[in-house]
Symmetry: C2
Subunit: 210 residues, 2 copies
Amino acid sequence: MVTTTAVRRGPRSGPDRHRTRDDILVAARRQFAELGYERATLRVIAAEAGVTPRLISHYFTSKQRLFVEALEIPFDVSVMFGGSSDLDPEQAGRHVATVVVGVLESERGRQTMIGVVRAAASEPEAAKLLRGVLLERLIGPIAAVLRVPDPELRAGLMASQVVGLVVTRYVVGLEPVAHCGPDRLVSILAPVFQHYLTADLEASDAPLSA
Amino acid sequence: MVTTTAVRRGPRSGPDRHRTRDDILVAARRQFAELGYERATLRVIAAEAGVTPRLISHYFTSKQRLFVEALEIPFDVSVMFGGSSDLDPEQAGRHVATVVVGVLESERGRQTMIGVVRAAASEPEAAKLLRGVLLERLIGPIAAVLRVPDPELRAGLMASQVVGLVVTRYVVGLEPVAHCGPDRLVSILAPVFQHYLTADLEASDAPLSA
């Protein structure tokens, strides 16, 4: 049997350059998700991507930098808020819940989020890197879209529920949350996101509108 | 300078037996919280407790067993639901939010929960152990108290928000969630817990009552 796998030894040029870089990112995401930040060494990631560790250093300079680049938060804020202006504010919670559950139910989105949460929960250095990524790529853009007081706090509260869902449903597999159907989950989460998005967070626990 | 620290070499009898066992549990909680399940070795825990690793094996038989025993979920379900019968159902969400935030703001409760979440998020074996502990000590008792459909799902949803809060507020330190005052946090979370506790989870995203 002939195997066609070969280790690529040097940087490429042209279109191949992007493919190699993407291969490394895909391998990094998978290894960070599986092993966590510390145990996913450049050597392991290089082996999975079929390149040398030196090539990873060439493209990304350091493991920290590779982690930040690989940490592609899978939520597209412009999709989440449906172009922002044409989204009915009273439907925002349901819309966000639909997008969030949809991303988490896709293999890639789930894998990315598991990697993000695992790294953040277990390793202080990864948590610090993640904090910066979340603020820059998620909290900031969401805050810019929301026309309500305390947009950063609202974005952070939504993030807390999403993170908790990732841990209980996908990492721990806590039943029956783990096997709750996606549509039902959207309906359950919609009023919670609506609350975090639009409720008067200064008021005491007044009835929430969905 | 004379040091008074001495390593205790053998099992004790009488009241000291309990003290030694408790010392080991306290050390285990601290080390699991700080290092995670895998890196917190019996040797490290023994050193912190001032005993021999052999003594830990004597009391707890294995690291798995020590982890399960040390995993004292800091939420007392009877406190959480205020004796269950005399708690106004419409105030249940606020009451649970008050208890949850109170526990997380105490050093011991926070440390325990960080340990629990870290271990579960990063290590499959710990996640499996935790799933059993959560079902037996938290989800089960809560489900027994709730006189609503789907009590396990409700308990699991509440757990998901608590876990997410632990990760974002205490582990990652995501601002401004990390510095939101406890009273404000209780008010923000109260309607969410109320929703998870009492809302019609089959219905679509109808307005939540707090």
